[in-house]
């Protein structure tokens, strides 16, 4: 990708996130500052309990930091209300989950259409786009199947198509290959590589060294703090 337009897409500024667990206050993230540029393929790694999930929830606008600021694109997310956060999720972010999180009652095509529905895109256009992305992830022949009729790898591809449907700024993936066998996992990583090559910004949270090797940058967390931040060559 060209280096010329490497502007900042995600900017975390001194982020603190604490949880109240009964009497005890748990500090999940402590003063994390991080900047991710457009077109980067970042892997966030670390042992369990290091704050990866919290980080992902914050990055995904599913949660708000206790203190600190978070800019997504040019917008300050940390001060947004619930509706605005929903709008950010719907327009700027694409999620890929470990357990796919497809809606079981809906077909492949309908699942891909869900984020478009909440953006008020007309039926004909959203159908067109959903078909386009389903074909792009190689599911053109399974448009009217239910998720239960698909293999894990196929389901995850549906999820990727769904994440792409709104043409988001950032794709967030939470252990995208965690539930898959190695060959299906490879397929998914190939798609990610593909997206990266097209200039998409990808952030994955993972245990998997393999994914980390695919990416351009590895961020390690430990005890809620940034441990290391390495760019691959």
């Amino acid at each position: 990708m060209t280096d010329g337009d490497n502007h900042s897409i995600v900017k975390l500024d001194d982020i603190v996130k604490t949880y109240q667990m009964g009497e005890v206050t748990v500090e999940a993230l402590r003063n994390v500052t991080l900047e991710i540029l457009s077109g980067e393929y970042v892997s966030i790694m670390g042992p369990s309990g290091c704050g990866k999930s919290t980080m992902l929830n914050l990055l995904g606008c599913l949660d708000r930091p206790t203190s600190g600021r978070y800019f997504l694109g040019n917008e300050d997310v940390s001060t947004m209300d619930d509706d605005m956060l929903s709008a950010m999720r719907g327009r700027k972010l694409g999620f890929v989950f470990q357990s796919y999180n497809l809606i079981q009652q809906l077909t492949v095509i309908e699942n891909i259409e869900v984020p478009l529905y909440y953006q008020g895109i007309s039926e004909s256009e959203s159908r067109e786009r959903a078909v386009y992305y389903a074909k792009r992830v190689g599911l053109g022949s399974r448009l009217n199947h239910k998720p239960t009729e698909l293999s894990g790898g196929q389901q995850q591809r549906v999820a990727i198509a769904r994440a792409l449907a709104n043409n988001p700024l950032v794709i967030l993936a939470d252990e995208p290959t965690g539930n898959l066998d190695s060959s299906s996992g490879k397929e998914i990583l190939d798609i990610f590589d593909d997206l990266h090559n097209q200039g998409k910004t990808l952030i994955t949270v993972t245990h998997d060294q393999e994914i980390a090797h695919h990416g351009t940058r590895v961020v390690r967390l430990r005890d809620g703090q940034l441990e290391s931040d390495v760019r691959n060559q």
């Binding site: 929830n57 995904g60 599913l62 949660d63 619930d82 509706d83 929903s86 709008a87 999720r89 719907g90 327009r91 999620f95 989950f97 999180n101 497809l102 809606i103 009652q105 869900v114 984020p115 529905y117 909440y118 953006q119 008020g120 895109i121 007309s122 039926e123 256009e125 786009r129 386009y132 769904r162 709104n166 043409n167 097209q198």
Partner: protein, 449 residues
């Protein structure tokens, strides 16, 4: 890829897109389809949930229709008596009633309203406009060999107008005929069938005792004959024959002699019935009190009965009100139960679909969108239940009328009210589960198994 990016740029500002009215309708249509779809996934459950509302709505409409029918019949009969009228009737005093039937005494029984009473009412009470005196006798009426047991009512020409009892064919007798003591009569439609099954009664003659009367008119039918709540005002005989009161005085004199089944009794009653018309509705009750006083002073026996149709109408209206309140409560309770059923199912459904809610929230659904989704489902349930209930509620009274022979009236507002209440129940009982769904933390919801 690039043309898609362009289209995305075009719809970038989705807030403005959302506010577009045409878009809102489209979104609603899609949300509605989504609701129908997810209810259809659980057909049996949705159907059973709906039943609560169906029964609620249908019972409201059916019960109201039956109640309305019953009270309409009663009111119709009361209206026939005239709401501005006070009716005074002669009654056989109770102590003499026994002796006259059991003993063979030949003395003349004297009781009831006298002409003097009528004169007094006319002279002392202002605002009393018309007084209709009437005598009532039970007689057999003959047309050659056909015989009908009938109530002969001797009265004045303005009787039909006073009692809201219209002439259907021909005419009532005139003032002139009253003066002339003509032998004319007007008969009730029930008699036409039994006396003149094949020919037109008007112009023909009937025989009562030794006298012939020319039929000049036929009255309109007047309600059904079961009017126990009127205190026996209208009699239970449908066959009625009207003759001028002057004619009756000539033909019968003041003393009625009855020979029936071997017994013999002579009764002297000047007037059997007097109808007093009061000029204003508000004065009906006070005037009736005054009449009561007059009679109490002048009659030492309880040989009269004062009936105030207005009071009876009011009483009937009050009864209907109470009836409506009771029905309303029953309806309210059944709809409440139906609503609780809906809420129960929706709460279960929200829990069951926690994951789905989480996914939708992560993909950009606002709280509002989730509330809409669940609320639409409950409104569809209760609305569909309401429609089925209305249909059943309209058909059931029909069958009640056909099979139980009871009058029923489905008023326009009963289905409307029942249906709107059911729709409201959907909203009221749907809002809590919907808010529960919307308030779920997306992070927690996504983690839900």
């Amino acid at each position: 890829m690039s043309e898609i990016s362009n289209t995305i740029e075009e719809i970038k500002d989705t807030k403005s897109v959302r506010q577009h009215p045409g878009m809102a309708i489209m979104r609603f249509k899609r949300a509605f389809r989504l609701g129908v779809k997810s209810l259809w996934l659980h057909r049996l459950r949705s159907f059973l949930t709906m039943l609560g509302i169906v029964f609620g709505v249908c019972s409201v409409i059916a019960m109201l229709a039956i109640g309305e029918g019953a009270s309409y019949e009663a009111q119709q009969q009361l209206k026939g008596l005239g709401s501005q009228n006070i009716i005074i009737q002669s009654v056989k005093p109770p102590e003499q009633q026994n002796s006259s039937t059991s003993s063979e005494t030949s003395r003349v029984l004297e009781y009831g309203i006298t002409y003097k009473d009528v004169k007094k009412i006319k002279a002392t009470i202002p605002g009393v406009t018309v007084v209709v005196p009437g005598r009532i006798m039970r007689e057999y009426v003959w047309n050659i060999s056909r015989r009908v047991d009938c109530e002969v009512i001797a009265t004045v020409p303005w009787y039909p107008q006073m009692r809201n009892h219209q002439v259907k064919r021909g005419r009532f007798f005139t003032d002139l005929e009253l003066e002339d003591r003509s032998n004319v009569c007007v008969i009730s439609p029930e008699m036409v069938q039994s006396l003149f099954p094949l020919s037109d009664p008007i112009g023909q003659s009937v025989r009562i005792g030794e006298n012939y009367y020319r039929v000049i008119g036929v009255m309109t039918p007047q309600g059904s004959s079961k009017n126990a709540q009127l205190g026996g005002v209208g009699s239970d005989i449908a066959n009625k024959l009207f003759i001028p009161i002057t004619t009756a005085r000539v033909r019968y004199g003041e003393i009625l002699v009855k020979r029936r089944s071997g017994s013999f009794e002579a009764i002297r009653v000047e007037l059997h019935e007097v109808t007093v018309k009061v000029d204003e509705r508000d004065r009906v009750v006070p005037v009736s009190k005054v009449i009561q006083d007059i009679f109490e002073k002048n009659h030492d026996k309880e040989d009269y009965n004062i009936v105030v149709p207005l009071e009876l109408i009011n009483k009937a209206k009050r009864t209907k009100q109470i009836f409506n309140i009771v029905l309303g409560s029953i309806a309210g309770i059944s709809l409440l139960v139906g609503g609780i059923g809906i809420m129960n199912i929706m709460l279960a459904s929200v829990t069951e679909r926690t994951r789905e809610i989480g996914i939708r929230r992560a993909l950009g659904a606002r709280r509002q969108d989730i509330i809409t989704q669940f609320l639409i489902e409950t409104v569809i349930l209760s609305g569909a239940g309401g429609i089925v209930g209305v249909v059943l509620g309209i058909t059931i009274p029909y069958f009640v009328t056909v099979f139980a022979n009871m009058a029923t009236i489905v008023t326009l507002w009963a289905p409307i009210i029942a249906f709107s209440i059911s729709a409201m129940v959907g909203i009221v009982f749907g809002i809590y589960p919907a808010i529960r769904a919307a308030d779920m933390d997306p992070v927690e919801a996504l983690r839900h198994e």
